[in-house]
């Protein structure tokens, strides 16, 4: 097991231990009903990125749905393209990616509260192509090399660990951010190694960290989570749609 794998495993283990140990201490209070929902949102950082580096153009959409008290199915999908023409090369890259996984809210909330502090796991994949033309590699001794690299089709897979927060700033409007650590599972093999993998980040890093800044709207969804009172030393939970 590599050092990075050990860190990831330790981190996940700690999150699970904390989650279940804190939940185990919850007082068995009165019956509660909380409404879940489907949140649809957009990551604002790609738009900020466009102003910092205009050849980088992309977007990322976000969707999650609470399926049990504090547990969410989550998905992100996006596109990224990079067209850059420099005196010594012209580079084109584009790709679409999809991430699927779960989030867990570790906050104990009242039925009226919707803020969250979450950890999550994702499995992600991208379908990308890239190519380079008009490459000039300067060589003062043997002479400059002019070459090109043909279009290359790659499908890397990776695993993500996320930590983030979301707060309901207006009724059903959420703002939040999260930090993501990426761990590449299937490294792309091709004519040209990519420099950036859409949705992943710098391909040369073993564990790149990225950020999302999310603006989301919740469509109230009739998911009711009902927690019954403790009866004869047992606790039961049931979900009604």
């Amino acid at each position: 097991m590599t050092r990075t794998s050990k860190y990831i495993f330790s981190g996940i283990s700690l999150l699970l231990v904390l989650t279940f140990s804190v939940r185990a201490q919850l007082p068995e209070t009165q019956d509660t009903i909380r409404y879940g929902g489907v949140r649809v949102g957009v990551d604002l950082l790609p738009f900020v990125g466009y102003f910092l580096d205009p050849p980088m153009q992309g977007y990322e959409l976000f969707l999650d749905a609470e399926f049990s008290d504090g547990w969410y199915l989550a998905a992100e999908g996006g596109r990224l393209r990079y067209h850059k023409t420099e005196p010594d090369y012209a580079y084109r890259m584009k790709g679409s990616y999809l991430k699927l996984g779960i989030d867990h809210n570790i906050l104990n909330r009242t039925p009226q509260e919707n803020e969250s502090i979450t950890w999550g796991l994702r499995i992600a994949a991208v379908d990308m192509t890239h190519e380079a033309e008009e490459i000039t590699i300067h060589d003062g001794y043997w002479g400059d090399l002019n070459t090109s690299l043909p279009p290359d089709h790659l499908r890397p897979f990776w695993f993500e660990v996320t930590v983030g927060i979301k707060a309901e700033v207006l009724k059903n409007f959420f703002m939040g951010w999260n930090v993501r650590g990426h761990f590449l599972l299937i490294y792309p093999k091709g004519v040209m190694q990519p420099y950036i993998i859409p949705g992943y980040g710098n391909a040369e890093k073993k564990f790149p960290i990225t950020f999302n800044y999310i603006l989301a709207y919740r469509f109230p969804y009739k998911l009711k989570v009902k927690v019954k009172k403790k009866k004869k030393g047992t606790t039961t939970e049931e979900e009604e749609r």
């Binding site: 904390l18 140990s21 804190v22 201490q25 950082l45 900020v48 910092l52 580096d53 050849p55 990079y82 850059k84 420099e86 010594d88 090369y89 580079y91 570790i106 906050l107 104990n108 509260e113 803020e115 502090i117 380079a132 490459i135 590699i137 060589d139 003062g140 001794y141 043997w142 002479g143 090399l145 070459t147 690299l149 927060i165 707060a167 703002m175 951010w177 040209m192 190694q193 990519p194 420099y195 950020f211 800044y213």
Partner: protein, 173 residues
């Protein structure tokens, strides 16, 4: 473990109580970070690629650095352009990215040897700021033996690092 979970629960309570204060603070911090992360548009990496060579003589089981006197080094086909001359104990040689092999002539006093390098060529995007570099993999070497004894490949990947690639052994006096 109970102490850890108690602290954890207290922290969560405090975060919840004051989230309307810390949430905007975090947002501001994040935006400042985004501004600070504005990538430099200058290339800050090494883009020159050389095969790093050191001349040595075996001495009681160890390699002793050795200087060639009255030396000249040039590429075959570029006799008009010396890569180095004079006293030389190490040199950075440019491999030819146009072909799968490069030969160099090494002259010391009146003796002359040829070092032939064979490799696989690739082109790598170093970064958007620095552009592309040529890399040379699976380096294999041959030498003639007028004053050079043998050659050892230390690192068969020739790229934009300072890692030593080759040791050339001279005959002991």
């Amino acid at each position: 473990m109970k102490q850890v979970t108690d602290i954890y629960t207290k922290v969560k309570k405090n975060i919840r109580k004051s989230w309307k204060i810390w949430f905007p603070a975090v947002v501001t911090l994040l935006l400042l970070m985004a501004g600070a992360c504005n990538p430099s548009k200058r290339c800050l990496e090494e883009t020159d690629v050389f095969m790093h060579v050191r001349f040595v003589t075996p001495d009681e089981g160890k390699d002793r650095d050795t200087t060639l006197q009255d030396a000249q080094i040039y590429g075959v086909g570029r006799e008009d352009s010396l890569l180095a001359y004079g006293s030389i104990h190490k040199i950075d040689l440019p491999l030819n990215a146009h072909y799968d092999s490069t030969a160099f002539v090494i002259v010391s006093d009146t003796l002359k040897d040829t070092l032939t390098c064979r490799y696989t060529r690739t082109t790598r995007l170093l970064s958007f700021e620095c552009g592309f570099i040529a890399e040379f993999h699976d380096l294999q070497l041959q030498i003639t033996h007028h004053f050079l004894d043998s050659v050892t490949v230390i690192n068969p990947l020739v790229t934009n690092t300072d890692d030593e690639n080759v040791k050339i052994y001279l005959f002991r006096d």
